[in-house]
């Protein structure tokens, strides 16, 4: 508003005359501006307090803790880079990184592929689209919950639903979550199953692609596959990129599912020891909060690193059409 007032100043006034004339009005504008700012900050205050106490403060605190030996019960003791040095030789940490990378690099592409495939089907104009969309979206809302993780453990248990179905066909099933060869697989399936969120975004993206491109291509005799790879995929790359970045970051932070399915151990034999789960074990199980804080910072750097790589690489494959 104050800018509007200033604009209403007679445009023709000379610079020399304008300076003294302007002063009182700016002062008045300033105080009003200040008052309005105060009101605005007042309304923003809860958020700022939250940001400070719940976000920035703890981030800085964890940075400090990462350079200390902190047992949670006692006081933190400064140890410099020791926690970070220990990471180099911590085999369980390396294993947890391997498990997490496997999980991210297998489940995210599968999840996105499934999301895109279903979005394409729904985009054909299925009747009751809203209903299907909601049904497929449901797992995304529930997937990270404790209830679903418990359900998963039951379904994939030695006497679970999966094995009962297999037994019906005369197949002797495994204890899927209790066998280290398959345990991570069940968690990957769980993540793939939560394809609803990227699917809804894909669906919106597909709707943005002008129909005339397809019509023109059809007229030219392009096959459905050709149309998919030459029209749909290029025009959808920004959406794919967005989903990829988001889902990767989510996958790196997966905790609840592994915690519940393995009973907090990351077992059997560390086969589901996700990075975040190991971090939790160090911090709250071993009273090693200093090390856990250092691990949190390493995770931040890893996720940050992959996100940067994603953005750099996006220059070569994401097509913005402008």
């Amino acid at each position: 508003m104050s800018t509007v007032l200033q604009h209403r100043q007679p445009a023709g006034s000379a610079a020399t005359a304008a300076a003294p004339a302007k002063k009182p009005s700016t002062k008045q504008g300033d105080s009003r501006q200040r008052r309005e700012s105060l009101v605005a900050y007042g309304f923003l205050a809860p958020w700022f307090i939250g940001l400070g106490f719940i976000t920035i403060g703890p981030i800085l605190a964890s940075l400090y803790f990462s350079f200390t030996d902190y047992s949670l019960i006692g006081d933190p003791e400064w140890v410099g880079l020791e926690n970070y040095q220990r990471m180099l030789t911590d085999e369980r940490l390396h294993n947890s990184l391997a498990v997490t990378f496997q999980y991210v690099f297998v489940s995210v592409p599968l999840q996105l592929a499934l999301a895109l495939a279903l979005a394409m089907v729904l985009d054909r104009g299925v009747r009751g689209l809203a209903l299907y969309r909601s049904i497929y979206y449901l797992p995304s809302l529930l997937g990270g919950s404790v209830a679903i993780a418990i359900l998963w453990r039951q379904v994939f248990g030695a006497n679970g639903l999966i094995n009962q179905v297999l037994a019906f066909f005369g197949i002797q099933g495994e204890g899927w979550v209790s066998n280290p060869d398959y345990a991570l697989g069940t968690l990957i399936i769980l993540n793939v199953w939560t394809f609803g969120a990227p699917m809804v975004i894909f669906l919106a993206g597909l709707r943005q692609i002008p129909r005339m491109y397809y019509e023109a291509a059809s007229v030219d005799g392009a096959s459905p596959a050709r149309r998919f790879f030459s029209i749909t995929v290029p025009l959808l790359t920004p959406i794919i990129f967005f989903n990829l970045v988001l889902q990767m970051i989510n996958a790196f932070q997966t905790f609840t599912q592994a915690f519940i399915v393995s009973g907090g151990t990351g077992g059997p034999t560390d086969s589901t020891l996700f990075y975040t789960l190991y971090l939790y074990q160090r911090g709250f199980g071993s009273f090693d909060m200093g090390y856990a804080s250092a691990m949190a910072w390493l995770l931040l750097m890893i996720i940050g690193g992959f996100t940067v790589v994603n953005f750099l690489a996006s220059k070569y494959w994401v097509f913005y059409g402008d």
Partner: protein
């Protein structure tokens, strides 16, 4: 830049923040609230314990009786299962919000005591004159008494005679049986019953079993100074027993072991009538007998007469401790005294926290004990003569050892590592955890 939203938000979501949020919540709790009474002179105390539903309802009744006797003191219960108990206690203590009366366990006692989180109970008005001499000083560290034993326990074999009978195998004579006998009997049960009944449940998920084996060999799990007190060869032999049971079919498959272990006592092979033997603490006999619906018996550990000496020992089942941060140490002491010495409390708790450590109380409740717990009492009395000594208090970090031995035993079961590799790994991991 249409995809830009992806760049800012996700970073804010990173798990550093989740962790930090937890820390922040804890910090705020620390500044905002201290436990304590209201202005009306009513004292509020919080009492924490771990366990299953059964213990929760019994303990609530105990609290009700205490409150009836002591108007003006309110006790708030604070309970979870074993696994989350220690996470919760650690965060609570870090936030200066520890419960006033804390149930402790030997693996964690030093962790808290050494960091000044517990009061010296000798300074408080608690009558300890009737506590069993075998365990009365078991909560002492550096001359201070940080915990008083709730009751006495022994790690032993639970055996289901009916399962033995169904498999057509004789119950062993537990006063003389060797480890080879144990393995052979277990394998035989599985074989004779066509794997309908497993001989035994894996013994590898609790280091207490190995502690007995080490003692039988004249060694110990930990030395007085907290260092490892056993040789690599002994531990290798221990893991090799597991391999013999695994290969001989005496225990469930590696994957089944994982599931059974995750299910807790309720899912033990004895509780589900799928096995003949299992390794548990003697105070768990009651609950496992009840779930199994059978007259489950306690047997001495194998090998008690095989090597240098006997290995079984009495362990304080739990400790009652008082938080250093309590605002009302006197009232907290009153409650601990009630839990330990009052018959009204004992007749409810019975043998749930081990056979009562107070010998007078023990005598008083002996007749009231349910059948299974009465068997425990007889068993403990039977083995008492053969027990050489107790175990030194475990070092800081001992709470991690259960998880370590579970993980390594799984690796052995799945055949990922040999017993020799397992022994090496266990020793290096435990040394790191407790060092």
């Amino acid at each position: 830049m249409r995809a830009e939203p992806g760049s800012g938000r996700p970073l804010r979501n990173s798990s550093v923040l989740k962790l930090s949020a937890a820390i922040a919540a804890v910090t705020m709790a620390a500044t905002a609230c201290g436990s304590g009474g209201g202005d009306d002179g009513n004292v509020e105390l919080r009492f924490s314990w771990w366990g299953a539903d059964d213990r929760h309802s019994t303990t609530q009744q105990v609290i009700d009786r205490f409150e009836a006797q002591n108007p003006g003191i309110t006790i708030t219960p604070d309970y979870t299962d074993w696994g989350s108990y220690w996470d919760k206690l650690a965060t609570g203590t870090a936030a200066n919000d520890a419960p006033d009366i804390i149930t402790q366990e030997e693996r964690y006692l030093r962790e808290y005591a050494d960091r000044g989180a517990l009061l010296d109970l000798n300074e408080l008005d608690i009558d300890m004159s009737s506590i069993d001499e075998l365990v009365v000083d078991s909560g002492d560290l550096d001359g201070n008494r940080y915990g008083i034993a709730t009751g006495v326990n022994a790690y032993a074999i639970l055996a289901d005679p009916q399962a033995f009978e169904e498999a057509g195998v004789e119950m062993p004579d537990d006063s003389t049986w060797t480890w080879d006998d144990y393995i052979q009997i277990a394998n035989e049960i599985s074989e004779k019953s066509d794997n309908e009944i497993f001989g035994t449940q894996s013994m590898g998920y609790n280091e207490s079993g190995f502690a007995i084996f080490a003692r039988q060999n004249g060694e110990s799990l930990y030395n007085e100074d907290g260092s490892l007190g056993f040789s690599e060869a002994t531990l290798e032999k221990w893991f090799d027993y597991s391999v013999q049971l695994q290969d001989g079919g005496g225990q469930p498959s590696a994957a089944e072991n994982v599931e059974i272990e995750a299910g807790g006592p309720d899912q033990s092979v004895i509780s589900t009538n799928k096995g003949a033997m299992a390794h548990f603490w003697s105070n768990q006999l009651g609950v496992i007998s009840a779930t199994s619906g059978r007259d489950v018996q306690l047997l001495r550990y194998p090998g008690e007469t095989e090597f240098e000496r006997t290995g079984m020992y009495f362990k304080p089942a739990m400790y009652y401790s008082v938080s250093a941060g309590t605002d009302h140490p006197e009232e907290a002491a009153k409650f601990v005294d009630f839990l330990l010495n009052d018959n009204e409390a004992a007749e409810l708790i019975l043998a749930d926290r081990g056979l009562p450590a107070n010998v007078n109380v023990r005598a008083a409740v002996l007749d009231a004990l349910p059948e299974a717990d009465a068997r425990t009492a007889v068993f403990l009395a039977d083995i008492e003569g053969g027990i050489v000594d107790g175990n030194p208090p475990p070092p800081i970090g001992a709470g991690e050892v259960v998880e370590i031995i579970k993980r390594i035993t799984d690796d052995v079961h799945f055949g990922n590592i040999t017993p020799a590799e397992a022994a090496k790994r266990f020793m290096s991991e435990v040394e790191q955890a407790t060092g």
